[in-house]
């Protein structure tokens, strides 16, 4: 069963987003200034989460959790046997899939360029001189 949800930016999306302003060398991770954060339950899929762990930047995720005001929920490092660690996977699932940002803004760590989030949709459009 799928639960219907409103489209809001999840932290899994944040973990993949980078800043693409012209001339930026290291536009990752984007800083979050969250005004409105919501938690929404999503079905737990352990296979998907353990698959995603390998391609997620864990430090960026823990930092993102701090920036949305959820501290001490995640371990600082990924345990070695994370595939069988159901407790850890559930925590990671909660962080990645269930925490959503409704409004606020993302900002580029290098240039400080702000990308506003309204109604849960980040606006990544650039001005002509930034392409």
């Amino acid at each position: 069963m799928r639960l219907s949800r409103f489209v809001n930016m999840r932290l899994i999306t944040h973990n993949m987003l980078t800043s693409h302003v012209k001339g930026v060398k290291n536009g990752y991770p984007l800083l979050i200034t969250a005004k409105d954060v919501k938690e929404q339950e999503v079905d737990f899929n352990p296979d998907f989460v353990s698959k995603m762990i390998t391609r997620i930047e864990w430090p960026a995720l823990t930092k993102a959790m701090e920036m949305v005001g959820k501290t001490d929920l995640l371990p600082t490092e990924v345990p070695k046997d994370y595939e069988t660690d159901n407790d850890f996977l559930k925590k990671a699932h909660h962080a990645l899939m269930e925490i959503e940002i409704i409004s606020g803004c993302l900002s580029c760590p290098e240039t400080g360029r702000e990308f506003p989030i309204t109604n849960g949709i980040p606006n990544m459009l650039l001005n002509e001189d930034e392409v």
Binding site: V7, L17, T18, H20, N45, I121
Partner: protein, 280 residues
Amino acid sequence: MSKNRPESRAPPDIFYDQKEAEKYTSNSRMIEIQTEMSERAIELLNLPKDTSCMLLDVGCGSGLSGECLSDQGHVWIGLDISSAMLDVARDREVDGDVLLSDAGQGICFRPGSFDGVISISALQWLCNADKKTHNPIKRLYKFFSTLYSAMRHGSRAVFQLYPESPQQLELITTQAIRSGFGGGVVVDFPNSTKAKKIFLCLFCGVQSPTLPKGLGTEEEMTKNRQIKYVKERDQRTFGKRNKSIKSRDWIIEKKERRKRQGKSVCMTTKYTGRKRKPHF
């Protein structure tokens, strides 16, 4: 070509306003076509079975294609340039995350993020120069090169598109190949004007890939069609040159023709073209 193409009317962020966006929720024919094309695109992606994958939907619009992805258990992120379309996606409660972004400005994702990319009826928009600073070739190159890095090694990107001319299609494929992609164009139902669908099937980091076959093409049809032996000479000698209209042969031939055009055709059985009993 015709002025009826939406691409020649207005830039995408203006053309897809609220009124146009609402069509994608109310017009059942539009929904059906979009869903059909999305399903075919997903089939061409050739994802591993029974695993959830992380996918990107370029030009996701109101999230019709995304719904097909969710139905198959995948997680997706969509991007679109029209905020009105994204608002519709939000109202429809689609499962993926959506971003407001211009594909021609580059894909803003970390390298190796996606297991696959689909895009339905969106790529041809990049060939337009809607602003003074737009250069279609540069925008296409920027899009493809950033997309290439955002995809995982060995994954595929499938774009369904409506090119205005063969030159436009060539422009797109040239930029894709220049960015490092392999692959090419798959055409479904090339014999039909209506059912004909063009898919650009790109491979990321695979040496000499084999392209999937399009539906309703000669190659696919020859598999279940053998060369027919026609007794033309006999017919001529017996003076039966004009075949009677709507004979069994004629019906079967017509069915074949319609099948090639991608239309739905009834099964051929022993009852096909059989004469009915005379009734009072």
